[in-house]
Structure formats: C-alpha cells, structure tokens
Symmetry: C2
Subunit: 319 residues, 2 copies
C-alpha cells in the first residue's frame, strides 16, 4: 500500500523507516512545517536525515497542506494527541475518509474524544479506520477484541502507561520518593520534561476511553469527561513499603467495566499478572466464554508503536 | 455464515452451542456414526441432547458421508487429531477446499503433519484455511503472528499443554510425586485416562510444529518428526524441591527458533512469565521491532477453543 504519514515525531519516523520492510511505499510525509511528497515513493531515509540534522522545516520542499490531496491508500495519523475537538487530527481523518482512503491512527484524540463522529464519517466512506496503536503500543488488544467480538468482553483492565509504571517500580525497588524517581525517569528519557500527561493518568484514561467506545459497539459514546482519573503524584514511598510488608505493591490500573471507566493507583499482589515491571504494559480481557486473556509487552516506543500501525495496515482490505 | 461441523466432541459441541450467539447457522454436523443436515439450520440443542442421552448414533438421521456435500460456507474440522497422513481430517479439508469452501481447524493433524499439502490445496481454491484453535486454545497467537508478520518473529516459546502444567504445578505445591498428582488430575478431568499425548509432550510438540510451519512462510515444511520432544514423566518430586530452594520451578516448555523445534522440561525462575500455574497456557513471541509479547490464558476446553474457532470464522472473507 501507499502510505501518507501525518506527523514525523518518534512514531511517524519509525513508520517511515519500517514501511519498506513490510512492502509498503511512503508517498507523502509531513510535520507542521514541511512535507515530502512523491507518488513514486519518497526517499524516507534522506528526508528523515534532513529533518534530524537541519530541522523539521527541511523534511522536504512540499507544503504540509498538500499531503491530504496527495496519492495514497492509507493515511497514518501520528500527530500529537489533542483533547476536546481533537484537531487537527480529526480534520486529517475526515479529509482521508471523504476521499475514500483508509485511516490508521496512533493519535488517541479522535477515537477518544470524537468516536461517534469518526464512525459516522467511516460509514459514509469506502475507507476503513483502524487504531490498534492508540491502545498499549505493540500489544494486539483491539484486534483481539475485534476477532473475539466486543460483545463477549465483560471487562478490560490493565497497566496502560509505562512512565507511571516505571516510576512505581523504581519507588518500590529503591525505597525512594516520587520526585527523586521522576527525575531519574526524565534522565533516562522514560518521562517527559512535562510528565503530567503520564503521571496524572490522562494517557491511561484516554486508552480506557477508547476501549470503552469499542466495547460499547455504538450503543453509547464515551470521552475523557466520562473517566474517573487519579494519578500517582500523591503516593508516598511509605505506602509502597507498607504494601510490600503485606506481599503487595501499587500499580496505576485502568479498568473498563460496563459504563464505568476508572484510572487509579491500586494495591495488587506482588507477583500478580498486573504487577508488571518497568515500562511494560499489560491488558487483561475478561471474556464470556474463554475466561481471562492476558496480553503484555511494550506499550510505547517508536518501533514498537510502528509495528502496531503496520499490523493495522496489514489488516486493511486491498484497494 | 453457514457452518458444517465435523466432530461433535467437547469442542465441536461447544461450537454448535455458541454459533448462534455469533450470528452463524449450523447447517450440518457429524460424528463417525451419524449426522444432522438442514440447509435452513439444524436445531443444534436438540441434536446434542439426543447425542448426550441416547448416544452419538442418534445425533441425527443423516449419513456422515453426506456432510461434505451439504450446503455450507465454512467447514469446522474438529475430529480427533491423527498423525502421519492426518486422516480422515485431511480428506475433510481437501473436500471442502475442492468445493471452494473455507476451512477452520481445531484438529492439529493436517497443519502439523501435512502443512504443505494443505497450503497447496488452498492455493487452488477460493476457500481460506484458518487454524487459530490448533495452538493454545483461546489465546490469539496465530492471528497476532499473521498481523505483525511471521517474518518479524525471531522465536516463539511457551507453555502449551495445560495437563502437564497442572501436574508440575501441583507437584511443586504439594511436594507429591508424579503418579500421585497424575491420578488427582485424572479425577478432576484435567488428564485423560490415557494421558500419554499430554505428559509425553506430543500435544505441545504438535503446536510447536504448527508454529514452525507458520513462521517459515512456505520456505520449509516441518512435521512432528522434526521436533525434539521430552515429557514430564521422569521428573522426580525432589527435582522441584531443589528448584524451589534456588528460587526456580520446572515447566514443560516448547520453543521454536530458526529451524529448531524443542519441547522439554526446563528450570524457570519461580515468578517468571513462563511459570504459569495450573492449566493456564502462555506464549511468548520475540519480535524484531517490538521486543517480547506475552499472551496467556486458557489453552483448552470446549467453550475456550470454540471462541478461537469463531474468531477465525469472523476473520474469513464474506462469501
């Protein structure tokens, strides 16, 4: 397939780098300042090298506004997540579907904040919308729910944010306080300079909102406002010590059950499936006929998230 | 879709019971003695009730030989696994593909022992062959490998047999010997009267052979003869005690790496991902770009395996 990639950050760059390996051609690529467009296929390595050494305005000599009108089969939407109206990501999705192109998202905004709007546009289009990469990176959560049937899932819960999980793992392992471990995480590149999105639970909540929308199968629409969210900033080191004395630890758990979406720190048994370590994510699917399925692995990262995007491209019907 | 179910044992009966819930119609169903056929849909509950109370010859009044010529979209092959020529399962697959019907297997024989033959028939047919249920029951292993790309998987390993795993778990937990725990497992219905297939590692090996065939993507064909297999019958209780003193336990692990297929007991750290308990199965996929994916859950059982079959039906192209 021919791919147009909107967003050339960590994930977008990885998709551009790996697309050829999976048999796809990148025919357009854009950040907010510049674009590269070539219906016969961009030299992605050269474009990314220019972006790296000279700045993102040097990605290519085309206008970002021209990407949506370019030749492609599937739009890969990997611009930074935005809340509320989910713009400009939502407009990118809209433009692609109106031209009967497919859309593959890693940007959580549209499917968390405007799920029904996206599905309505999809219904009027011959293009399909897929978004495995919006929930738990490389872990095949949404395709599993899709194949087994959303109606057969009674609950979904898990550890959805690697930054928060890394911090809690280190706090428990070293007996150190939150601020100290956060600084360590930032030094390692595991936490951002402004870590609020991760440590306040917003990132995990958006993923749970998307899951709730998928499980509801169109009967009801959820957005971030429907989630009850509590992060990890107020957990003292002593809480983790007390937990350990009782054979437990603390993890930031997101759960979707019926109409309820909740993200909060929870005590879990020390060696339970939910007590994953470091930046690992885990998703537990409770099913009607097959008990519990556990899916765990890397929930974030350039190549990791790119594999989820390319798995989605693999599932699109041929044009 | 209309389904023809060959085999009315535990799994076949569950597929018949659940098919309606998933929007499918059972138009034919057979065991070795009798069949029920109705192009408008069988009363599966009545047929299974007759089989249960009067014996399998009373499933219905049709001839099993007529099922393959009946009206259906997908043949569900759930007859008991056979090795070598994989008959009669292979002939059932052949008959369906020659009529351009789809095939969904839980019977491991054809894809383990005659993989290339099945793929050759499939290439000449407009029917597709799917076999998620042949490896690790409800756990979505094959669809994950398919979506992410078999070529991106560098190794697959796991606990593939719940009977053997249950026995090892109980031996470690209770300090009891193999024979004693085997008897307990048979009482619970977790082990068969003749448990050889499970405890000698053959069942796990067949699953690993299927995985090796999938990963090889047609470059090479494997069968049971290519696997190195060692079961759990010779593990003394003392081995598990010694392991525990070292923070380890013993699990029957199957692994596929490159051209090597091996099933054998292994020492694993006590709380590692591979040290699943009871009848739980786990599969670890090592990927090129996304690190390790862990998928665990119920690897066997009527409803559990039926959900994998129905997930495969869900993935078939509409007729």
């Amino acid at each position: 397939m021919d791919l147009a990639i909107m967003g050339t950050g960590t994930v977008g760059s990885s998709v551009a780098e790996l697309a050829g390996e999976y048999g796809h051609t990148v025919t357009a690529m854009a950040n907010v300042d510049a674009a590269a467009i070539d219906p016969d296929g961009i030299d992605t390595a050269a474009a990314l090298q220019r972006q790296q050494s000279e700045g993102q305005a040097h990605l290519g000599d085309a206008d970002p506004d021209d990407v949506l009108a370019a030749e492609y089969d599937a739009l890969v939407e990997v611009t930074p997540v935005t809340l509320g109206d989910a713009e400009p990501g939502f407009s990118h999705v809209e433009a692609a579907l109106e031209r009967d192109k497919h859309v593959v998202l890693a940007n959580k905004g549209p499917m968390a904040e405007r799920y029904a709007d996206v599905r309505a546009l999809e219904a009027e289009s011959t293009g399909e919308v897929r978004f495995e990469a919006t929930v738990a990176g490389a872990i095949p959560v949404l395709s599993t729910i899709e194949d087994y049937g959303p109606g057969t899932m009674t609950a979904v819960r898990g550890v959805f944010n690697g930054t928060a999980n890394f911090i809690l793992t280190r706090m428990a392992a070293e007996g150190l306080g939150y601020e100290h471990v956060l600084a360590e995480a930032q030094d390692l590149g595991v936490a951002e300079a402004d870590p609020a999105f991760d440590v306040e639970g917003t990132d995990a909540a958006l993923k749970c909102v998307i899951l709730a929308n998928v499980l509801a199968e169109g009967d009801r629409e959820f957005s971030l406002a429907d989630a009850t969210v509590e992060g990890i900033k107020d957990i003292p080191g002593t809480a983790l010590e007390l937990a350990r004395e009782d054979g437990r630890t603390i993890r930031l758990i997101g759960e979707v059950t019926g109409d309820e979406i909740r993200v909060s720190p929870r005590l879990v048994p020390e060696h339970s499936e939910l007590a994953v370590s470091g930046t690992t994510n885990i998703v537990q699917l409770e099913t009607e006929n097959a008990g519990r399925l556990n899916l765990s692995g890397r929930g974030a990262g350039g190549p990791e998230t790119a594999t989820a995007i390319l798995a989605d491209v693999n599932r699109l019907p041929d044009r």
